[in-house]
Structure formats: C-alpha cells, structure tokens
Symmetry: C2
Subunit: 355 residues, 2 copies
C-alpha cells in the first residue's frame, strides 16, 4: 500500500509509492561506465592550466610540496558578480536586487579522473577545509546574507566540466526555502525546547532501520520522508547551526563518512550522477539552538514531472528503509580491492535487495 | 549585469543571469524531430485497445458519433489508491497518511500522433471540459483535500507513454507548497484588500513587455521572476480561485490560448519537452477573494543542479522580456501552413532574437 510521509523539516508530503515500487537494485544506472584520463590537456582545472582560471582565492598544499592539492578560484562563468554593492529596488509589485554575489569553484584534486566517490579520505578532508575557510572568510562580508555549498556530479546533475569540483554561491538574500526551514525549526524549538534535528538523529539511532553509517561524530541515514530514491543525509552529532563551526577532527570524520556513502552509491548503483549540498544556517544565525546543519546527497535517478512541479510533493518509488538496507550491505572495501572488478557483481545486488 | 528578482507568489528569489545569458534562439532544442504514427497497435491509449486501461470514468463524444474524443481512466500504475479511508498516524516525530488518493489519466485524443501543440482548439477544449467535470465530481468526496492537474510531454518532462495525455492526482492532504502560496496570497489581501493575481495581471497589461497572448478572457505572459527559460503563465481575467469554476466560454478561450502558446513553443524552440500544471485553490477555498488559479507551462530546457536543490533559488539564463518578445514574434499560422516546413526557418529565429 502506498503511504504519504511528511518531511519534518519542510512539512512537505512525499508519496512512497510501494505499489509501483522498485527494488533498490532496479535503480542501478544502465550506461557505459565513465572513463576519464587522469590528465586532460584541454581541461582548465588540470595542473599546468592554472592560468585558464581567474586568479586563485585559496590553495591547499601538502607540507614541503609546492604542488597544490585543492584550489579555490572564482567561477569564470559566475551567476553573480562580486564587484557590486547590493541594492534592493521596490517598484510597484516588483522586488529586485542587483546581481551582487560570489560564485567560487573548489577544484577538488589535481587528478582529472579522481571522482569524489573514489578519492582518498584525506583529499576529501582538504576540500572541506577549503570550504570552511572560504565560508569563514566570506561571512565577514556584510553584503553577503547566505552561502550555499553544492556539488554537481554528472550531466544529469547539471555539471558541464567533468574535472571533480564543487562550488559555493554567496547571495545578498536569504532564500525563501532557507527562511522557511529556519522558521519550522524555530517553531519546533518554541514548542518542545529542543533542536528538532538533534532529536530526529536520536530517534533514528534508536530505530536503526534507516541508518547507513554511524561514527562517534556523524550519522548518515535515509530520511523517513525521503523525496527521491537514495537521498542520504549526513548529520553532525554535535549541535551546530552553521557549517563553518565544524572542528578539525569533525572534518576528518565527515570526509570519511561522505566518501564511504558516495562509494556505496558508486558501487551499489553503478556510478549514478548526484548532487550534494550543505544545508547550513546563514552566518547571522550561527549561534542558534534551533537549527542544525547537515549534508544532503541526492542521486539523480529519477526525473521531476508535472505532479512534483504542480504540488511540491514527490513520488518516491523506493522505500527509504529498503534503500538503507541496500546501502548498508554494499561492501566498499571488497568492491574496491585491486583484484576485483571496479563494480559489484550481480550476486551482491541480489543480497542487497532482500526485503 | 545579473539581477535577482523575487517571485511575488512564493517570495522565492530567482537569479536572472544575463552575463551568462542565452539569447532565446540558443534554447532551441537540438534533436531529431519527434515522429509518431497516428495509430500504434501496442499503445494502450489507441482506439481498439480500450480494454488495456481500467474501466472508463468519463468519455467525451461528438454529437451523433459513438467514437470517443477524450477518455478519462484510472491510472493503471496509480501512485495512490481510491479504495481506502485516509487515516493520519502520528507516532513520535513521524506523520503519515495511508496511501488514499485518486490518480486518473485523461487520454486527450484518439490520434496517437496528435500532440497538444498541434491539436485543434476544439479538441483541447474537450480535454478541459473533461478535467472540469472530474474536478467537480471529485470535489464532492470529503476524503479528498486537493486536486493537482498536470501534463508531462516528452521524456525530459517525465512521461513514459507518448500517446497525448494529461493526468490528475487527488490527495488527502494539501501540500506545504500549496498552503504556502495560499498563505502569501492571503497576506497580500489583508495588506492591500485586493487579489494579488488580479493586480499582477493589470500591472502586466499596462507594462506590456512580458505579454505573449491577450484575449478578452485570458492573458498569457512570461512572469517577471520566471524561474526557468520560457516558463509561461496563463491567467483568467475574471477572478476565480478554483479551476472548476471556469465557464463554458472560458474553456473555449483557454483552449485557444493554451494551444497557441504551445504552438509558439513548438515552432519557436523545435518541440521542446514541457510540463503544464494548473495552480488552483483547493475546493475548500473555492470562494476566496485572495487566490486566483492559473495555468503554468514549464518547457524543460535546463536541468536542476545542486544550487537549486540547496537554496530553492533558480538561475534563469533567458530574460523573461526577451522570451516574451521571441514568443510574440513566432508566427504559428505561417509556420503551420501546409506548403511550409513544419518548423520555422533560421531566418525566423534571427528576427525573434532581436534585443
């Protein structure tokens, strides 16, 4: 029987359509595996082509080594421009702000072929260190109201350059979606005197059925009202509203957990296109007790159609509990072993699809 | 210079990225034209295969002709099931409703190849008459809270069957997105004592720059804060909150306006995939002075990426005013003339892309 479930954080309903349900293994991506060279002379993000990008904002290097591990550069095709003073204009019913903003690219690795799901954990940690540094720095600019961190992996996820990179866009407004999430969280806090995210994580740790990876510092899980198949959240266990408050130890652990979840998706579903985004409170709310940042991974396995556009509700054909069980059972270490093929075998899928 | 514009109805911001802007003609779809037979013996929606669908709910026929013009049937792969009593369960933080709902398909024509943009206006009117009748009927069912009407045209718009059809899904809840739109409209009414949609249409009629088609009864325009290229709204000029209150004359006119706009998109952009949806107030709010239904057409020319998922804001690379000018200049009659090719020539695009 289908079931409607309500997302606690947005109050939006999701239809879990078990009648038309797909088993997790039916979501495996059917296409030729991606095959990238480790160096592409035409790629603006590859070493040696540093002059193809606007001047670097930040560089991460290894000790005693001049080569870069991670570079942060302004987006050459930026959606917004940093050399402006934001000005809001109200003219009859029209509300506009000129296009002030910051749009930066984090080049995650010098290796063109090293996609995030297969990166060393330490490299992912360097990316998060760069992101934290940029957020901390940009938060000092009073023209900026909010910073969105995101990654597009693959054409279906909206990427145009295949060299592994993530991005941030700092805007002079707080979007209505972000405002609404803060508002719902505040209502919960006023009602129950607790952070609804801390409370949700505790409940999920007790329930166990939707857990994917648990460490001392982070919990990765399939949300109860997951809007798409295999949407996965990673929550810090320590209460923090703003991503930039993450500690060094937490960065190391987040990198490990994110990399493991992405590798499970990579081996389990055959390298799906995906996005991730960090749902952080704006810096102006960094200290609040009611909001809690988390990282949301959205594999792009389905298409948005007219019902979703018209209602805001989604139809998810994979039960979150089944997706969690499937991901728990993907054995990344044996899938990645050098004497094994790079993608899991049919037998592994069968075991993953039980129930 | 890019510009942020705020959607009046949702309060969400859109980035109009004129720096990375595309001219309207750059959005022309590059792929082989769709070519469908007028009859496909394997198609469950083609005449003669009526038994492949669940029993008909409604049939539109011509006078003195037993053949059907439009059929409405339950969706064989329904997301929700009508044989249930909706029951809301609150268990700790989890909110669920069992999967009660109605999911119907409107088979728009007996001709497999007759896509909506090329349909006779009278056929489109028959589709709307069927939709109105179904809404009126379903609104009597107290288990139903809201009805979403939508169409998916093409694979990128989420369709799986190519025979022209639209759909409706009736849900036992009002989605958060719909609630939020009603709430914003009510706030405006309380502030200004007017329907914000009536007022927006008046303002657009004076401004003229975003108009596409205007008749005595309907106005088609590109919204000021359009979230994607060529998103087009069609508003009834008479105040009505609920779609089912549309009159017979209005149906005739809406069919003509919708068909003309879809034909402009078809000839102007080379048959893009698209969705449309009717943003109606739920039946329980049918009489309200603050909300106003409209039809929203969303050509699927771009992909949603991590920024949109993370912020709720969209980046639109086509200026709404340029899209409106382009669509005004697409001459559907000459493009459709039998001695002309079925798609407009390069010269026509050039003239459409001025400014």
């Amino acid at each position: 029987m289908p079931e409607l479930r309500q997302n606690r954080f947005t109050k939006e309903w999701v239809i879990i359509a078990t009648e038309r349900a797909k088993r997790p293994k039916d979501m495996v991506v059917l296409r030729a595996p991606r095959s990238l060279p480790s160096f592409d002379p035409r790629c603006p993000f590859c070493p040696g082509n540093e002059k193809s990008t606007p001047p670097e904002v930040l560089r991460v290097t290894a000790p005693n080594d001049s080569r870069w591990l991670v570079r942060v550069v302004p987006n050459k095709f930026a959606a917004l421009q940093p050399e402006l003073t934001p000005r809001r204009v109200v003219e009859r019913s029209h509300r506009t702000v000129n296009g002030f903003g910051v749009h930066e690219v984090v080049i995650e690795t010098s290796d063109h072929s090293q996609i995030t799901p297969l990166m060393p954990d330490s490299q992912v940690a360097s990316v998060f260190r760069a992101l934290k540094a940029r957020c901390t720095d940009l938060s000092l600019d009073s023209r900026i109201a909010n910073i969105i961190i995101f990654k597009n992996h693959g054409v279906d996820a909206g990427t145009s350059l295949e060299h592994p990179h993530s991005q941030l866009i700092a805007t002079p407004v707080i979007s209505s979606q972000v405002r609404s999430r803060l508002h719902e969280a505040l209502r919960h806090y006023d009602d129950f005197g607790e952070c609804m995210f801390c409370s949700a994580v505790e409940e999920e740790l007790q329930d166990k059925s939707r857990l994917v990876v648990v460490t001392d510092r982070f919990v990765a899980l399939e949300p109860f009202a997951s809007f798409t198949p295999f949407c996965t959240h990673i929550y810090p266990r320590r209460h923090m509203a703003n991503f930039a408050d993450i500690s060094g130890e937490e960065i190391t652990d987040l990198a490990r957990v994110l990399r493991l979840v992405l590798a499970k998706l990579y081996y389990g579903l055959h390298d799906p296109d995906f996005n991730f985004t960090i749902r952080s409170a704006p810096a102006e709310c960094a200290g609040v007790k009611y909001y809690h940042w988390y990282l949301s991974i959205i594999p792009r396995l389905t298409r948005v159609a007219g019902f979703e556009l018209g209602s805001g509700m989604y139809i998810n054909t994979v039960l979150p509990e089944a997706a969690a069980e499937f991901l728990r059972e993907v054995d990344v270490e044996s899938a990645a072993a050098p004497d094994k093929p790079q993608l899991v075998t049919a037998a592994a899928f069968e075991s993953g699809s039980r129930g």
